[in-house]
Structures are given as C-alpha cells and as structure tokens.
Symmetry: C2
Subunit: 284 residues, 2 copies
C-alpha cells in the first residue's frame, strides 16, 4: 500500500499567514500582540525550542519576551512571576517552559497562569474548560493532531482512534478533542496489556508516548492512519518520533513525518492562540 | 456462567458509617457539616432525588438546606445564589440540581460554585483538577463506579474498560479516573460505529448512556464485568438501567444491579464529600 505523508508544512503556512495578518491589524490599531516566555532551566533542548518560538513570533509580528528565572527558581518565585504577568495588561499570552527546576512540577505552578493568557492550555482551569466543552485554550500539540487530520481530509466521526500515551499535555486532552469530533477513543499507555491488539483495532493510531520505535507495523491495521507526535532526541542530534516508519510504511494508508508533521502545526497554533488572546483582550 | 451481582449496599453502608462518625466529630467540635441543595425546577424526579438526599444527610448528621429558586430562575439569579453560598462560611458544600430552567445550562452557571464546596465536581475547575490529577472533588457517580469495582476486587491495572457514554458528569470523568487506575480506556457513544465490536473487546463494560436496553448480551465478551450506571424511568414508575440484564446474565461474570448497585454508592460518596469539605474548611 502506498503510504501518504501527512505533512504539516502547508497547514502551518496557512495558519501562519492568517496569524500574521491578524497580528498586523492589532499592531496598526495600537499595540502588537505580546507573548511572555517564562524559563527556569538551563536545558539546551529547551533553549533551542524557546529560540525557535522567538523566531516564529518575530516572523509573524508578535512581540516576545524571554523571562529567565534561572534553574534554581522556587515554586513561589515561579508562581509570583506567572501571577505578575497574568495581571500585566501589556502581556497577552504566557508560556511556561519545561523542564522546571528540580522538585517543582507544572501542577505546582500552572494555576498561576490566568486562563485568558494560558495559550498552551496547561492550567487546571484550561483543562477543565476543555473537558466541559467550554471556550478556552487547548494544549497546542493535541489540537495540532486534530487539525492535521482534518487538513488531510481524514474523517473522525464514528472512527475508532487509539491514542498511545496519557500525558496531561497530549494524550488526555487529545482524547477530549477527539470525543468532541465524535470519534470513538481508546487511550492506551505503558500499563496497557497487548498494545498491538489494542491499536490494531483502531482506524487511526496516534503515537504520543515519547518512546522511540514504540509503534511498529505490527501495531497498525492494514490501511490505518498513523500520526506521530513523538519528538525524541536521535543519536545524531536530530529529532525522531515514536513510530518505526520503515515497518509502518507500506501497511498504513498515511503517516505523519517527524520532523515536519505535527510539529510545525503545533507552533503555528500556539502563535494563533497568542493573537486570539490579544484580540480578546483588546475587545474588552 | 454464574453472574455475580455487584451490589453497592454493603459498600455504601461502610462509607456511611465512616461519614456518620466524622460528621459527629465535627458536630461535637462546634458545628455540623452543612450542605446547600440549590433547586430551580418543578420536576417530580428531581424533587424525589432532593428528598432522598435530605434524608440521607439527616441520617448521617449533616445539616441540609434546600434553596428553591423556582423553575423560571435566570442564569444570573442562579450564579448569584451559587456565588453567595460559595462565600458563606456557614455552608460547607453546594449541589446544584438538574434539570435547570429552560435555556440555562450547567456550563452557564457551574463555575460560580467554588471548587472547595463543589462536592459533585461539576465546575470547570473541578473537572480540570481531575484531568490534571490534582486534589479536588470528583463527580460522585464516576467515582462510585471505580469504588464499586474495587470493593468487589475487580482489578483495573492493565484491564481494558469500555465506557458507553461521554457525558461531562459520568463518561468523561470516569475515563480520567480509570486512566489514573492504569486501565486502558475506550469511550464509546451514540456516534460509535459497531458498538458490540468495541465493547466486546473490553474486560469491563460500563453502561452510562441513559438508554434502556442499550447494552445486551451481544455487547459483552464471555466473562466480562458489566457496570450499569443507567437510572432510567421504567414504565411502572421504578428505575431501570442501561443494561438488558436477561441477555447479559449468564454471559458476564458480574453485573451491577439497578437499583442497588452504583446508586447507593454515589449517594454515600456525595455525603462523604460534604464531610471532607467541612473538615478542610474547619482546618483552615
């Protein structure tokens, strides 16, 4: 079977063109949208990602501040910073970078990001708005999976989707989004017994566990659609997904590449969220 | 196959004995725990349920106020009442009854219940705390399903559970709870294609769709465990579940009865939540 590549580049470009126009409108009306990136680590991968977000923001006409609290920042210091940026009317959007300092968890601090600026949907209130089907920001990676499938005309209503991974930032919110799209949803994870049997029953398999080579040809039904959310560090320093592409290709009807699949759509959606937050703030 | 009855009466009695003792301790220390039941309908089934909650509270030593805003109450009036009870230090716990007035949805008003008093876990913040795995009140019916299975020594880790129904009050929060118990979770619903195939792949089937006779013998694998969450009105005025017991019995290894299964455990857990809320409020 020919396996179609579910590339995210065209979709990301279309989203970015819209975002750029909306950012320009905001800037012409007075002030550019502004994103605060809060960092508290000295991790090279995080630095690389923050840099890529800053470049993306710059290209789209979004002002971007990097606030570095240092790798030893306390939970209290992080909460105070996030609360201050939440209250600051000059800031439209806030993103907290991981990893966090030793002993500090996202759950310890994320509720200090006000929901209206929580563009990556990490706070408990944002997660609850999603669970209730109410208006709020959805974690961008999970939204990117759904948008990528829609862009490539993969129907979701009544289809059985298996998500491998149950993280708060991808697997669980993706399950909510897929239910809202009328898909039948299975969430599998490290404790799942007989993963190949579970995923082979699905029309669509989403690999979001953060483990290289987790999903192989034997995990996938003939003709299934496979989306790879993994961004693992490869031996050569590049990034590699959770899907063993060699064995899945030829069996799946479609597979999203890594890099170039979910990734660019995620970044584009984050930037769109910044503009949406700014538009709502200006309208108040 | 002999089908075991997963009765909830013994478990409910054990929870209630604990709740009664804790309520007595609170009362001896000063004030009894207090639950506010906010009603805005003239529905007979709701009146019956409110009455049963008041009796349950009375038996356990929990003070209970019924606040009736009338079937024509506006969303604003409901929000104002819920906010007032949220701010009132004499009230430990708040439950909003459904149905709500024509044109008012739970989502319109539930966020006016402060999370610390939201004993049925209906507000967006409560749902998000659950999704994030943080401390908060879980919708009692979904918690009752998990507690009933544990009480009857049905293991959950690595088991495949199919939940039929994706409501915000049962199906979706139950999915979160089951993931936290390390189960593989499938959520099916009215748009699911080939429901019997989906549910027959599961070790445990939970029927929570609110439709009489939805789950029959052909939906259930030989030896599976079936939990019936349905509380539908029967032709004779009694209540009847979502499971067609005749065809499931003999095929399933266990089935929870309606009434007498999930129901009494749900009421017991709600009352336990009231006492927990009161204990936390006193400790502040």
């Amino acid at each position: 079977m020919d396996t179609v590549s579910l590339t995210g580049k065209e979709l990301a470009a279309a989203i970015n063109a819209d975002t750029k126009a909306r950012a320009a409108t905001l800037t012409e009306a007075g002030t550019a949208p502004r994103l605060a990136l809060v960092v508290a680590n000295d991790d090279p991968a995080s630095a690389w990602y923050v840099n890529s977000l800053r470049k993306a923001a710059e290209r789209l006409g979004i002002d971007c501040d990097r606030i570095d609290l240092g790798a030893d920042a306390s939970a209290d210091a992080l909460r105070a910073e996030l609360a201050a940026r939440s209250a600051d009317t000059a800031v439209d959007a806030i993103m907290l970078q991981t990893p966090l300092p030793e002993g500090v968890t996202l759950d310890d601090v994320s509720s200090s990001i006000v929901a209206t600026k929580d563009v990556d949907g990490v706070s408990p209130l944002s997660l609850g708005l999603l669970a209730a089907g109410l208006d709020g920001f959805v974690p961008a990676t999970s939204e990117a999976v759904v948008e990528l499938l829609k862009h490539h005309d993969v129907p979701l209503t009544g289809r059985h989707v298996a998500v491998v991974g149950r993280s708060n930032v991808v697997g669980k919110p993706l399950g909510q989004l897929l239910l809202a799209e009328n898909a039948t949803v299975t969430i599998a994870h490290s404790r799942t017994v007989d993963l190949p049997a579970v995923t082979s029953a699905a029309d669509i398999v989403v690999a979001a566990a953060g483990r290289i080579g987790l999903v192989t040809g034997k995990h996938v039904a003939e003709g299934a659609v496979v989306v790879d959310v993994g961004t693992n560090e490869a031996a050569d320093g590049g990034i590699v997904g959770d899907v063993e592409a060699e064995s899945v290709r030829g069996k799946a009807s479609a597979l999203s590449p890594v890099p170039g699949g979910v990734g660019p759509v995620t970044t584009a959606l984050l930037m769109r969220h910044v503009v949406v937050a700014a538009e709502k703030a200006r309208a108040e």
